[in-house]
């Protein structure tokens, strides 16, 4: 990949030896070893629930290992609190940011460690320090901007700066790219390069193979709590990594036969709509999805994708235009009418639209179907049938933990919450499926499953609209890729001849061609 390595093998900064962590009878980490050198980017790869986070929480002092020990800078240490970890130069950037929204960047970075001058906070020198740090590592941020006004990528930089400000030499990044756009991911990888050049070490928790290839020196693979092996990233390819993670061969190539698309399933014409601030965001959008094809919608977040899907599914009212499903006009119809007309969707925000977190998994699995004969009669729920259905789907979709039928959905991990939604929508088996970032937060095995399913729907002659920020996903699945920019479709490319650079250019608003 042509990246420069800054590893200094003579200096070991972290050595975790035979770490075992048990919760009651449950073994989350079962004899894991990890060695990280100065200037190294070390990826930790594993499926959802493999024990990556547990291991990092042990390193960060949130958990005590049941057995095993840790050395930092070649001294045996006992890390019993995050404070101790920070003292030892270990910093963690969590997947979900912990920032105070109305505070400025500087205020957030110094929070808890404010430099003082007399009795007041010395904001001026703090601001200078922040600017100095951000220039040193190429982390451009506006020190005076408020968190609520800056993008997710920027917020992540603030989190990284927060850790650096506390003097960390070893940075743990937990799923850092989960909510970033492709451009932001590229920038993050660059920042990681700057950090290691300066002698910092990075531990990267992820299940995205491409990013490991692009940024890491070594990769430790964990499967079901067990240490599998540590590999030199330059010597393995993505397929090998995936196989090590899952424990079997995984195919990324989606097997898709050539197929002539059928009649038009969804026709959107001249659609206008406003976003939550009441600003026009859809500006006359046209889109057609035919039976037997997957149309991928590529675009940078904030160009109207969210609103488009919300309007099609009836969650938001459009201001003007026409939406037809199999010739039936559904513009302005209720979500129920649209569902009955044959549109189901995997929503972008799983916790807002996808699930009632307080409801059990079983109850969530019947969110649109509780009124159907299978699950109720004369308004009385058939609890046995609902339970049976849940057991069946939990099994089929490998929702973990098993026997979670009666657990509140909010207690499941993010990936498993997504599986609950996917299980439900797949079972609905509608004429048109709208999938918004359907594999977000899923591990390779589950991604493979979802992709296979989307293609299966297409092969059965159903229509699929795929909206995703993962350009790879859009490119490998779509028969037709449409690029959305500023509330309009600005380009359309057949999936098989799509070129990443060309798409990227169109996504940024350049080189439109129809």
């Amino acid at each position: 990949m042509g990246r420069e390595s800054h590893v200094d093998l003579s200096k070991t900064v972290i050595a975790m030896h035979d770490i075992v962590k048990k919760f009651g009878d449950f073994v989350a980490n079962d004899g894991i070893n990890l060695t990280v050198h100065k200037g190294e980017v070390h990826a930790i790869l594993g499926e959802n629930g493999a024990g990556k986070s547990t291991l990092m929480n042990v390193l960060y002092g949130l958990y005590h290992p049941t057995s095993g020990y840790i050395e930092v800078n070649e001294n045996k240490v006992s890390i019993d609190s995050p404070e101790k970890a920070i003292e030892l130069g270990i910093g963690m950037v969590h997947q979900h940011f912990m920032l105070v929204q109305p505070f400025t960047v500087t205020e957030n970075i110094i929070l808890g460690m404010e430099p003082v001058k007399g009795l007041s906070v010395d904001l001026k020198s703090a601001r200078e320090q922040v600017i100095e740090l951000s220039q040193r590592y190429g982390l451009q941020v506006d020190p005076d901007a408020k968190i609520e006004d800056i993008s997710v990528g920027m917020q992540q930089r603030v989190e990284i700066l927060k850790v650096l400000y506390r003097g960390a030499d070893i940075l743990i990044l937990d799923e850092p790219t989960a909510s970033l756009t492709p451009q932001e991911i590229g920038e993050l990888i660059e920042i990681i390069g700057h950090l290691t050049k300066d002698g910092k070490s990075i531990i990267l928790i992820t299940h995205k193979l491409k990013e490991i290839k692009a940024s890491a020196d070594y990769c430790t693979i964990i499967r079901q709590g067990k240490y599998i092996q540590t590999v030199d990233v330059s010597e393995v390819n993505e397929d090998q990594l995936a196989a090590m993670m899952v424990g079997r061969d995984v195919t990324f190539k989606v097997d898709k036969k050539e197929q002539k698309p059928g009649e038009e399933a969804l026709v959107v014409k001249n659609l206008h709509g406003k976003d939550y601030r009441n600003v026009e965001i859809l500006k006359g959008l046209d889109l057609t999805v035919r039976r037997g094809e997957i149309v991928g919608l590529a675009g940078v977040d904030g160009n109207g994708q969210t609103e488009l899907v919300e309007i099609i599914t009836g969650l938001r009212k459009g201001t003007e235009g026409s939406i037809q499903i199999h010739g039936k006009e559904v513009f302005g119809a209720t979500p129920r009418e649209i569902f009955d007309a044959g549109i189901t969707s995997i929503p972008a925000d799983r916790q807002k639209h996808g699930l009632v977190l307080e409801f059990s998994v079983a109850d969530n699995l019947i969110l649109q179907n509780f009124g159907e004969e299978e699950f109720s009669k004369h308004g009385i729920l058939k609890r046995d049938a609902i339970q049976k259905k849940a057991t069946e789907l939990i099994d089929k979709f490998d929702i973990r933990p098993r026997e979670s039928e009666n657990k509140p959905a909010g207690q499941l991990s993010g990936g498993n919450q997504q599986k609950v939604i996917i299980a439900r929508e797949i079972t609905n088996d509608s004429e048109l499926l709208i999938a918004v970032n359907p594999t977000r937060g899923l591990d390779v095995g589950a991604i493979e499953y979802v992709h296979k399913y989307l293609v299966e729907q297409r092969n059965k002659g159903k229509a699929v609209l795929l909206v995703s920020f993962e350009l790879d996903e859009v490119m490998s699945l779509s028969d037709e890729i449409k690029v959305i920019f500023d509330g309009k479709i600005v380009g359309s490319v057949p999936g098989k001849d799509a070129d990443e650079n060309e798409l990227g250019l169109m996504m940024a608003g350049g080189g439109a061609h129809e």
Binding site: F23, D340, V356, L367
Partner: protein, 371 residues
């Protein structure tokens, strides 16, 4: 990850107790009594004597127990009303007003309609439920159509009900003959009293069977919430209206339904008080508080309908026992202090919960370590 399976199935009885609400409610009740005792002692009154009176005064004789239960019935219903609203995502702070209009409706039907008791009692209850339901529905319509916060309109509707009641009490046709600021008594056929003399000998002459209405209502509400599509919809909207709408449920419609049912329950609470205890409506000089006590009952009962039965019985006994405290020169207000303290501690009970859970969690971990 077959390991997770073992972890899940191992949810022992102890863990269930620690994770449930009951333990923390009982702790809060204990703390409430301790705080009450400290205040009584500080005022120079023997806490032992006062609490002794509370116990003998409520449980000492079958008659006392019956009265405790009669006191409990209306507040079980208002508690149920509030608990139902919490479960469905609204805050019915207007149970007081719905209770009052429920009393009015039951009173008018009870005074003016002449039918046999078998019809008269249910008729009064239905009238009260309708009145309470409609009263609450007006607020629901304002919320859904005009976006007016229900808490504000509920509080205003409480006062409208209050003055409406005082107005109706003083209409000559309704007002009792002779002295006294009250309505006529409801007809005997509308009273929910035990009429059998042999039963009266044991239970006392004021024995009412209004508790059965409250318990039945609690069972019906528990059934609606847990076993019906209606309950499913109402709870879905209450927990997450976005997901509910995504699932094709009309949130506005369900909010109106939920608020009407909640109002109907409070209205029935009014009928139970009138037909089992009051027999007439007196002119108010201040709000009676049955609706507000419903909030307390709902919170002690963890917003669980069946929990409300027990919480209501507890509060009913405390209210009835409180009237006897003057016999030992203790102020009856001590009951309010105890109840207030309990609510305060229930409100912060998640703090206890976290402390206890992290403590036992640590213990489990170190045990795991030594194995």
């Amino acid at each position: 990850m077959s390991n997770t399976k073992a972890k899940d199935s191992k949810s022992s009885f102890g863990a269930k107790v620690l994770h449930g609400n009951l333990l923390y409610t009982l702790i809060s009740i204990a703390v409430g009594f301790i705080v009450g005792a400290i205040l009584l002692q500080a005022a120079g009154i023997s806490a032992g004597e006062a609490y002794g009176k509370l116990i003998t005064g409520t449980l000492g004789k079958p008659k006392f127990i019956v009265w405790s239960i009669v006191y409990a019935s209306p507040i079980i219903l208002t508690g149920l009303s509030v608990a139902f609203s919490f479960q469905t995502g609204v805050f019915n702070i207007g149970a007081e007003g719905q209770y009052v209009v429920g009393t009015l409706a039951a009173c008018i039907v009870g005074v003016f309609v002449k039918v046999p008791a078998v019809i008269h009692v249910p008729l009064c209850l239905i009238a009260a439920a309708l009145a309470g339901g409609l009263w609450s529905m007006v607020v629901a319509v304002l919320k859904v159509k005009r976006g007016i916060n229900e808490v504000l309109s509920f509080i205003m509707f409480n006062w409208i009900a209050y003055y409406l009641s005082n107005y109706i009490v003083n209409i000559p046709a309704v007002h009792k003959e002779g002295n006294g600021e009250a309505t006529k008594d409801i007809l005997d056929s509308a009273k929910m009293l035990v009429t059998s003399e042999s039963l009266q000998d044991v239970l006392g002459s004021g024995a009412s069977y209004n508790i059965f209405v409250a318990v039945l209502a609690a069972i019906v509400i528990a059934f609606i919430l847990n076993r019906t599509t209606l309950g499913y919809k109402l709870k879905a909207v209450g927990f997450n209206r976005h997901a509910a709408e995504y699932g094709g449920i009309s949130a506005n419609k369900e909010i109106m339904t939920a608020m009407s049912i909640s109002g109907a329950l409070a209205g029935m609470g009014g009928a139970c008080q009138l037909m089992g205890m009051g027999m007439r409506i007196s002119q108010f000089s201040s709000q009676e508080g049955f609706g507000f006590q419903g909030i307390t009952v709902a919170l002690i009962g963890s917003t669980n309908p069946i929990g409300c039965i027990f919480a209501g019985l507890f509060y009913g006994a405390m209210k009835y026992g409180g009237t006897k405290l003057s016999l030992v020169n203790a102020p009856s207000e001590i009951v309010d202090i105890i109840m207030g303290t309990i609510i305060f501690f229930i409100a912060i009970s998640h703090v206890f919960k976290r402390l206890l859970l992290s403590h036992t969690g640590k213990k489990a971990k170190s045990e795991g370590g030594t194995k």
